[in-house]
């Protein structure tokens, strides 16, 4: 193979879902080596979640860097209305144009209304340079 995309990915759960509506980092990519120009980064994510007691919606967000204090990617949070105790597959994709080198990405979730922790059974976060 002659060429490859620069890419990083993870299916390692960074933190379990809490029993509160706390913004929680669930997947973090290793640092992605970027060209120091305006290269686009394609980000794709996937989760399989059993919603906890009381949960009324799941809110997903992606951040630059390895914590939820990083810059949020996207115009707003990505929310889905849910029923407590059900199992959901939720996935998405987005584009970032950070213009910086060596960047982590973090996928985080908030369980609105939760009073007992949900379960993240599987998922992943991928980022690759276009």
């Amino acid at each position: 193979m002659g060429v490859r995309f620069a890419s990083e990915f993870s299916n390692t759960i960074a933190n379990l879902l809490p029993s509160s509506a706390t913004n929680t980092a669930i997947y973090i990519t290793p640092p992605l080596t970027l060209a120091a120009d305006n290269a686009q980064v394609y980000i794709a994510w996937f989760t399989c979640i059993v919603t906890g007691t009381g949960t009324t919606s799941l809110v997903f967000q992606i951040y630059r860097f390895a914590t939820i204090s990083g810059l949020k990617i996207g115009a707003q949070s990505w929310a889905q209305t849910v029923v407590a105790g059900n199992t959901y597959l939720v996935s998405g994709s987005y584009i970032d144009q950070p213009g910086a080198a060596d960047l982590y990405y973090t996928l985080a979730v908030i369980q609105n209304g939760v009073s007992a922790a949900g379960t993240l059974s599987d998922g992943c976060l991928l980022a690759f340079v276009l």
């Binding site: 193979m1 002659g2 060429v3 490859r4 995309f5 890419s7 990915f9 299916n11 794709a44 994510w45 996937f46 399989c48 029923v83 059900n86 199992t87 959901y88 597959l89 996935s91 994709s93 059974s121 599987d122 992943c124 991928l126 690759f128």
Partner: protein, 130 residues
């Protein structure tokens, strides 16, 4: 176009959903020629189906190979709570790192609790070497 990346895709359903909870191969891609190192393969999958009578959960799995005996991709099954008769769209992304030169991949569906056949209406499975 200067370069291309190894890709495979299909939208041809291999089997109809049965009137029971048997894991059923729906989409197959491959064989795919991989580099013999730790190359990552990115999957995008999508399926829209009408849920069969009695079904309470749809479980989707990705497997290496072309049958339900192949190795499971991911930490667990990917399940979604459903109601019989609903039409649903499900989609996801995942990756595999496989130290082998040639393999196929398949997407399977299980209708937990089914007593009537469901109907796959459309979908796709794409595999893309990063």
């Amino acid at each position: 176009m200067g370069v291309r990346f190894g890709t495979l895709s299909t939208k041809v359903a291999q089997n109809a959903l049965p009137a029971n909870a048997t894991e059923t191969v729906i989409y197959i891609v491959g064989p795919m020629i991989l580099a013999t190192d730790s190359v990552a393969v990115l999957f995008h999958w999508f399926i829209t189906l009408v849920v069969g009578t009695g079904t309470t959960v749809i479980a989707v799995r990705m497997r290496r190979g072309t049958t339900t005996a192949g190795g499971l991709i991911g930490a667990s099954n990917w399940s979604q709570t459903v109601a019989a008769g609903q039409t649903i769209c499900m989609a996801g992304v995942y990756f595999d790192v496989f130290f082998a030169s040639v393999t196929s991949y398949c997407l399977t569906v299980t209708q937990t609790g089914a007593s009537g056949a469901g109907t796959v209406q459309d979908g796709t499975l794409a595999a893309f070497i990063l």
